[in-house]
């Protein structure tokens, strides 16, 4: 099975490990991620202003690229991209007035008019709805056995209601995914509380406080590592720990991993050496507990991209 894939900015730089682990893991599960031939910034955040459609052009252009590729579905890994693209797709289909405005602005530059048919799905949804957690469970074996992983949903995977992948107040998709990987999911009270998002730029002091609370909550719940699905959450919670430590030397760091890195490991592919440099909190403790029972032709293969 092939699926269109929209990477977004950060997966090409600071979160290469997120993309690489995803591409290889999904291939192992029989899904080939085909990166869109052309894509632009999704806008990173969905604009809430009702009176300016310009903000929605960037995401709609990406939705059009998917149609140009002859596909109706596009996969995202980053939660922010997922949220922005999905909400833009919904807005386009629900608000006829805005749709006409957007099409009108786009028509000079785009030979093809976007028809509103692109469906945006997140990597976790792909596993839940198309591959199936039970199928994944059969493929993963015991590589992550005994590892207690805390899923961190953050905001954009769950809110607003109806856009997110699960019930915003009582989600289970991420826990189910972790259990299907053969690890033990550890729910914790702050699993869907905001990491501070873009405030990391202007108010790092607030974000550091968020990181301390969220990490301590996951640790208290007995987890060995935090699992995320958004490069901004990853940065705030992983790098943020360094700032916490600089203020409070008694703070102990806590590993933060992308869900695809866990998936990669669960499929017996281990963990790539070069990814370590993209993490802040030391991972040795967790990595030492991952087994590599399934051998795969993909191990050590070059990253799948041009």
């Amino acid at each position: 099975m092939e699926i269109s894939y929209y990477p977004g900015c950060t997966l090409k730089v600071d979160a290469r490990n997120f993309e690489e682990s995803a591409i290889d893991s999904f291939r192992e599960l029989g899904v080939v991620l085909v990166e869109l031939a052309r894509w632009n910034c999704c806008g990173t955040v969905f604009s809430f202003t009702t009176d300016n459609v310009m903000y929605h052009l960037a995401p709609v252009r990406n939705l059009l690229r998917v149609r140009e590729a002859g596909k109706e579905q596009v996969l995202t890994l980053c939660s922010m991209c997922f949220n922005t693209l999905k909400r833009a797709a919904e807005l386009f289909n629900k608000d006829a007035e805005k749709r006409d405005k957007i099409l009108n602005i786009m028509k000079d530059k785009e030979p093809l008019a976007y028809d509103g048919k692109t469906r945006v799905i997140h990597g976790i949804e792909l596993i839940r709805d198309e591959i199936g957690f039970d199928v994944l469970k059969k493929k993963t074996g015991e590589n992550l056995k005994g590892l207690r992983l805390a899923p961190y949903y953050g905001c954009m995977l769950l809110r607003p209601d109806g856009v997110g992948i699960d019930n915003p107040e009582n989600p289970r998709a991420f826990q189910d995914l972790i259990n299907a990987m053969g690890a033990d999911a550890v729910s914790f009270p702050f699993q869907s509380e905001c990491c501070g998002a873009y405030q990391t730029v202007e108010h790092p002091e607030a974000v550091v406080e968020r990181a301390r609370i969220i990490i301590n909550s996951a640790r208290k719940a007995g987890a060995d590592a935090l699992v995320v699905s958004c490069p901004l959450c990853a940065y705030n919670l992983d790098q943020g720990q360094m700032d916490v430590k600089s203020i409070d030397s008694s703070f102990e760091t806590f590993p933060v991993l992308y869900f695809t890195e866990c998936l990669y490991a669960s499929l017996g592919l281990g963990f790539r050496e070069e990814w370590k440099a993209l993490h802040y909190a030391p991972l040795e403790g967790v990595l030492a507990r991952i087994r590599r029972e399934t051998t795969s032709k993909l191990i050590g293969a070059a990253p799948n991209k041009e």
Binding site: V45, S47, F48, Y198, Y235
Partner: protein, 144 residues
Amino acid sequence: MIYFIALIQVICMQIKTEEVLSDLIHKIIDISGTNIWKCYQCGKCSAGCPMVDFMELLPHQVIRLAQIGKWKEICEANTAWICAACLTCSVRCPRGIKIAEVMEALRQVVLRNRLSNKRLNISEERIRRLPPIALISAYRKILE
């Protein structure tokens, strides 16, 4: 005596009809697409807000002040600029008020009317260190 009158004016908030009907407040309602009059001040937004410790006014206070047209007070507070748009308030509001959207509208009205010369004050070193997703979203939310 005069001293007392002055003091009373400082403490006592005057509710003025022309303020309640002010254009700026209506602009916020228009841009956010949410009816702020639905708010019954339960405070669930403020209770769940992850950034509330850093806010000068709590989200429910902002909505209250907007209801009575106290634009100046809202505008001077840092609340909207601290909001991380995590939508916790919006999904929990029992009356369906989109509080995060109101915060965005507030930022927009301030920026569009040049009521603040807001700049992101960050060192080049930090710019290099921050991932693109952080920088772009911050620019989009705070300066767009």
